[in-house]
């Protein structure tokens, strides 16, 4: 199923709202530009869970080998990488 960037961003934001690290007061402000690690919303283990979720929803493998963390830690960046992989 091909998804648009907006759809995927919404999906990710919804997932993060339901699965973010407990007790984090910054969860109200999550947007497409939020850095999920720097904001403390997810730790690296939560981030892996998110990748597994996106892969299951988008039906494609996310390739992070040559991507800089400053790109894939941001909601929008992660979604673009996913969609790039979907096209290839």
């Amino acid at each position: 199923m091909a998804m648009s960037e907006t759809q995927l961003v919404d999906l990710v934001i919804t997932w993060v709202r339901g699965n973010h690290r407990p007790g984090n007061s910054r969860n109200g402000g999550i947007s497409a530009d939020t850095d999920l690690i720097a904001s403390g919303l997810l730790d690296s283990f939560g981030f892996i869970d998110l990748i597994v979720f996106i892969e299951s929803q988008s039906g494609c493998k996310i390739e992070l080998t040559d991507v800089d963390p400053s790109e894939f830690c941001v909601v929008k960046g992660l979604c673009r990488i996913t969609l790039r992989n979907q096209q290839n």
Partner: protein, 557 residues
């Protein structure tokens, strides 16, 4: 070898313009025992223009890093109000963090690392327990400085190498003294003309304490000196090596990264926060030769398919420490780094970074693993171990691991009760002081040690040592519940990814409130991921809370 003060005085008093006298004076200064910083200073002389540090995309040569450290060291000595053997550093993964550690050591003091990622309450507690009156603060920690100072009930001298103007802080906190970058001393002429005692504290770290208070572990120059020499020789470190720097400075494994690297003139690559758990690209981009991390990193890389065969050809040594290393992870890493020797290191903070090792051999090691976990191997040459039973008589096979030797410290910081509990002498080993690790091990016929678990409620979460009781103290206070239990979860190969909480009776507070409060006082890795509410706790035959049943509940959830 320290130079006699008398000889030095004589040289000074007769010093003329004669080059031979000046050379003798320089030699005398160099021969003074400077402790942990000695290796860095030697490398700064031998390899002045070589890269010493890469951090935040900035590269500093040994000369430049020495200069930054000199400015901090001289400022400390000029500005301290009363002499105290320790100074604290609140910084992370920045030039100031590394120059601050070196500057404090260069002033002849031991350093106390504080973590800007930790809750301010905890940092304030650690600062107070250390007794430090000097605090060096990096740019990345300026945001939390006002909250830290607000309730600091003693006068601090705060050195701010990254802040040009401290007027606002001076006005807001008249109790404390601030030194901005413009007011700092010029380190240009500073010769690190210090002498420290080998029994002085090189660094003071805090670990989780069962009473709810962090526990201070002082490591002396002689302890860490033994480690650095042994490891530098074992791994034949040279100035061409490129070291990873993964660990936070509050984790003692960071001492290995910095000081083994600088001992031989190598370059240290500070891994940015975002790459710490997924460092594959960083390793490749910088052509690292020496890798050191917790084993959890291997699992994470593997999960996102970033651990491909031969993806790290530049590595020549890969060291893992801090938690149990699964055999499958050792194997996967070995395939990813085919030119690298893989070793599992083991050691509590009290025994200085690591004290035993096991080298992974793909052909025979899989058969030597126990329960799928890589052995912790044999003690370093010159260090001692024994395995004791409940009555503390030495046993041959399974029991608590005790350690002794030049790397083992002699007690906790200002905590006689804990010291007497963990640092003991056995009648049959004469006057040797042993540290009881609390780790349950099995000793094989060839002397190889296998980690089996803990004899108490301490756990490892992503390599961090955690006393579950410390979490329970906070949970009890914040939830007002009658019974609280913290359970490491999920657990794989003896290491936990996190912790969850069970509460029962008397608590009407909502989970978010409780967890928010936990986050205010506990570091991230100790905050429960979830709270489970029970009518009552399951009990075992001794009428104690049955932790195994709680784990079963989680397994069934």
């Amino acid at each position: 070898m320290p130079c006699s003060p008398y000889v030095e005085q004589l040289v000074r008093s007769t010093a003329s313009q004669q080059p031979s006298i000046r050379a003798a004076l320089a030699t005398a200064t160099r021969l003074r025992y400077k402790g942990l910083i000695q290796g860095f200073l030697d490398s700064a002389e031998r390899f002045a223009s070589r890269e010493a540090l890469v951090v935040d995309d900035k590269s500093l040569s040994y000369r430049e890093l020495r200069g930054r450290a000199a400015a901090i060291a001289k400022t400390i000595l000029d500005r301290e109000l009363e002499s105290f053997p320790l100074a604290a550093i609140l910084a992370s993964r920045s030039v100031t963090a590394y120059a601050g550690v070196l500057g404090i050591l260069g002033s002849g003091k031991g350093y106390v690392p504080l973590n800007p990622k930790f809750p301010v309450d905890r940092t304030r507690k650690m600062l107070a327990l250390s007794g430090s009156r000097i605090l060096v603060v990096g740019r990345e920690a300026l945001g939390q400085l006002p909250r830290l100072l607000l309730e600091a009930a003693w006068t601090l001298t705060v050195i701010l190498p990254d802040l040009d103007d401290a007027a606002d802080l001076c006005a807001a906190f008249p109790r404390h003294r601030f030194v901005s970058s413009r007011q700092m001393a010029d380190g240009a002429g500073f010769a690190f003309d210090i002498e420290v005692n080998s029994t002085a504290v090189a660094y003071l770290l805090f670990t989780s304490g069962s009473t709810g208070e962090p526990k201070g572990v002082p490591i002396h120059h002689s302890n860490v000196g033994s480690y650095i020499q042994y490891i530098s020789n074992r791994y034949e470190v040279t100035e061409r090596d490129r070291f990873s720097q993964e660990f936070d400075m509050t984790f003692d494994l960071s001492v290995h990264d910095m000081f083994v690297c600088w001992e031989r003139g190598a370059c240290l690559f500070s891994v940015p926060e975002k790459s710490v758990m997924l460092p594959a690209k960083f390793i490749r981009d910088h052509g690292l030769t020496m890798w050191f991390s917790v084993p959890s990193v291997v699992a994470l890389l593997s999960n996102v398919r970033l651990l491909q065969p031969r993806c790290f050809p530049s590595l020549r040594f890969s060291l893992f420490c801090g938690e149990a290393l699964a055999a499958t992870h050792a194997q996967d890493w070995q395939e990813a780094a085919p030119n690298s020797i893989v070793e599992n290191l083991y050691g509590p903070t009290e025994t200085t970074i690591a004290i035993s090792h096991y080298r992974w051999y793909p052909s025979k090691s899989p058969q030597e693993c126990l329960n799928g976990i890589v052995p912790i191997g044999w003690p370093f040459a010159g260090q001692q171990c024994c395995v004791v039973d409940h009555e503390r008589g030495e046993v041959s096979e399974t029991g608590e691991l005790c350690l002794a030797g030049s790397q083992v410290t002699d007690g906790y910081w200002n905590n006689l009760e804990k010291t007497q509990g963990q640092f003991v002498r056995f009648p049959e080993t004469g006057g040797t002081l042993w540290y009881r690790t609390g780790d349950l091990v099995k000793r094989g016929e060839n002397g190889c040690l296998y980690y089996l678990g803990r004899i108490d409620h301490q756990v490892k979460i992503r390599g961090y040592r955690v006393e579950l009781q410390e979490i329970e103290v906070v949970l009890r206070k914040t939830s007002k519940a009658e019974q609280v239990v913290a359970v490491p979860w999920p657990v794989a190969y003896g290491s936990a990814d996190g912790v969850v909480a069970f509460v029962s009776g008397g608590s009407n507070l909502d989970d978010l409130h409780i967890l928010n409060r936990c986050r205010e006082v506990l570091p991230d890795y100790m905050v429960p991921r979830k709270i489970y509410r029970l009518e009552e706790m399951p009990l075992n035959d001794n009428r104690k809370i049955d932790r195994k049943k709680l784990v079963k509940l989680l397994e069934g959830a």
